[in-house]
Symmetry: C2
Subunit: 456 residues, 2 copies
């Protein structure tokens, strides 16, 4: 059976195996399971930092699983794993389903993992149906999407898209998190050394030129409250909000907590606190978000006023320009706050900004969005409601994903499914087996529809 | 020559050797010198955490120096080192000069070090003069006064005074600072293991009963701006302000920075920031101080809203009751701040307090204060000003010192000398050789006067 020979009704009837998808997903979570939050066997979060031993184990499992499905495996010099199920034609690039197997240090079982596992399930389903595609279909696991251990998110898809230089990634050092603290605090590993350590430093160049794709589809939990609170089942992702990541240093003066009056202090941590409060005010006023995830105060002694504080700042908004406006206003305000702290002794704090990452707002590709939307309508068509199309909505992504970078080189779009309370980056992150299967069925159909569209 | 046979004029003429004191002090700073701030050979700070290898080296030097002065050495089970120069009478406890040789992770060359070195110099001066005392005179180096590595300050004098149980100290784990991070982050040492490691776990019980004292005098830099800004040379310390140290935890919820609207967050770090801003407001309104020296946000990832923050809080004030009032008000206010953050999702932050240390306000002993005051007047009497007594002032200590604990068991007082800009707990902490010598001459005379008073 060949995709281009199916009827529209046959395409719309395609579904994944819900039980097998859930079983495989939780099987893969044995490597790096995290904090327990319930009594069930799968009621834990995940702690699987990029290029950790746990990540190595799940990568090995992924490769073996894809080999069993007769896929060809490519590992590039960022450790990205591309598994391709060949199509009828071998002269064209494959259509990919992709996401990531790494997690936050206190993450859950669905962010990224569902995306890769939906690809595994889609290929298993095709295999058992004997469904042949015109072009190949691949599944890709992108390295360090989270940016938790190595502090640039989506770095490996960024290098593949040639938007980030390889040298930056290979030299990037791990940062301390609850999971990476032991090595990060004493002898931080670089991405290159970490890749070598777990045997995933491939020889193939990391580039869309060396490992081309026809398109990239990604299934992900929404990580927000819109679908779940509206009782909807599928989000057709049309765009990704803009965001920028900064590292800031506030430099004041170490001094004694017991003997230094407030007016004699240049307390970098006090200045930071005022900055964080202000950041929320400014972001809120423009419909944006501003967040601090990392803060380090030095020297770190109960009775010394911290003279140096460094912190991360993450600003996001629906438009690239809005993020730039928030940055502009905060630069002014932070300078003002710093200048006030220590002014009494003529040694005010000062603040330094470094832009670590800049991701402008992204619009996905119409062809891919169309395939996802048609598939979503088809998959929810048997739901017991009058207007089944109301279960599907167009949606913007608040988070960055590897699809942001693939979209710069190949047609791309994404599918969202609801998660409980809109919660993610948390051990209790949860997506029901039904919702996982709905999303995976949509991506299976989307890939088939895209293949038919390409070779119509 | 015996102290009790000296004339008042002979006592008033006693002076230390300024050059030798400066030389010894900087010699001792070769172990654990810290951040360089100037071109001079001694223009560095200190980084000599308690029970580090550098601390071991300076302890070994101290013991050898005191042995050369024919002192008897006792090391107790907290590693406190007592060096006693015997007096004429051997049936009475010695009068002690004491302070500490450990420093902050980014500390200076005078805090604590000047106190111990002034004792060394006082004994050298007595030795070369052939001056005999009625009771013995000792110098004590107290372990971990700073509380920087092991987070209870003055812990070893506290145990000596039987105000803190030995088990608490022996089990106390080091905390991460810029200097202790490597071990503290992976396998934190306890005080007991650290004492063993550097061979300073003595067998003598740490108690004022086993190692009695007649009195305790301590010379210290002011660590504040009063003396230096008034052009005064000696502070006669009459009291020490009250303070309390707490560790607080704010518990919110880890969640994604990109997809979680502010009203859906229980951001523990944002709550912390508001708390720190509020703490200064409340403390200021009551003439107290509130400071945060340590903050840790978990999980520590750029794109995860921190669900847990722990921080230290140091509240100080001139009266014990005032500190209690600030605490009471902050407990209420912090609960309010926590309750607001996360209220929108019915999962507000909460805050937990642990009192680590409580040091009520202390009044020093009249006899000791009198000896210090008489000595201070005598030492500054040759200054080229009309009213030399105006160079001396009574003063309250803002910082805690080992003298707080010794005062609970034996007559105690302290001497302050000015330091540049009132700065301490900072590499640029500085006290001129003249001021160091003035303070050391005062403590030399004070000990002699106290000896004469005891045996008059």
């Amino acid at each position: 059976m060949l995709t281009t020979e199916l009827s529209e009704a046959e395409v719309s009837a395609l579904r994944v195996n819900k039980e097998r998808l859930a079983k495989d997903l939780h099987h893969s979570c044995q490597w790096g399971y995290g904090i327990r939050w319930g009594d069930g066997s799968t009621d834990t979060g995940m702690q699987r930092l990029a290029l950790s031993e746990e990540d190595k184990s799940v990568r090995n499992w992924f490769i073996q699983t894809m080999k069993d499905l007769k896929c060809q495996i490519t590992v590039d010099e960022m450790g990205n794993i591309f598994a391709v199920r060949p199509g009828k034609r071998t002269d064209v690039p494959a259509t990919f389903i992709g996401s990531h197997l790494d997690t936050q240090p206190t993450g859950g079982r669905y962010d990224g993992i569902l995306g890769v596992l939906s690809g595994v399930e889609a290929l298993k389903r095709m295999d058992e149906m004997g469904l042949e595609t015109e072009g190949g279909v691949g599944v890709v696991n992108w390295t360090n999407e989270e940016g938790a251990r190595f502090p640039v998110s989506m770095i490996s898809s960024g290098i593949w898209a040639e938007c980030i230089p390889l040298s930056k990634a290979h030299g990037l050092k791990e940062v301390p998190t609850v999971a990476s603290l032991p090595t990060a605090a004493s002898a931080p590993e670089t991405m290159k050394s970490a890749l070598q350590k777990i045997d995933y430093l491939g020889s193939v160049p990391c580039s869309y030129k060396s490992t081309p794709m026809a398109a990239h589809f990604e299934l992900h939990i929404e990580q927000g409250p819109h679908l779940v609170s509206a009782g909807q089942r599928v989000g057709v992702v049309t765009a990704v909000q803009a965001y920028r990541w900064y590292r800031l240093n506030v430099i004041g003066r170490d001094t004694h907590t017991g003997t230094t009056a407030f007016e004699h202090r240049a307390d970098a941590l006090y200045a930071f606190s005022r900055m964080m409060v202000r950041a929320r005010e400014v972001a809120k006023s423009r419909g944006c978000l501003a967040s601090v995830g990392i803060v380090e105060a030095k020297p770190g002694s109960v009775n010394t006023v911290p003279g140096t504080v460094s912190f991360s700042l993450d600003i996001r908004g629906p438009e690239t320009e809005l993020v730039a406006e928030v940055e502009k206003e905060l630069r002014k305000d932070f300078d003002g706050i710093a200048a006030e702290e220590g002014a009494g002794i003529g040694k005010p704090c000062r603040v330094e900004w470094t832009l670590d990452f800049d991701s402008p707002a992204v619009k996905f590709h119409e062809d891919c969005i169309g395939c996802v939307q048609d598939s979503a309508y088809a998959v929810v068509a048997d739901a017991p409601v009058a207007d089944t199309k109301s279960l599907v909505r167009p949606i913007m992504s608040g988070a960055g994903h590897d699809s942001v970078f693939t979209s710069k080189r190949v047609p791309t779009s994404m599918i969202f499914v609801p998660c409980r309370d809109g919660l993610s980056h948390h051990p209790e992150e949860f997506c029901s087996a039904d919702d996982c299967a709905t999303g995976a069925s949509v991506i299976l159909q989307a890939v088939v529809r895209y293949d038919r569209k390409r070779f119509a």
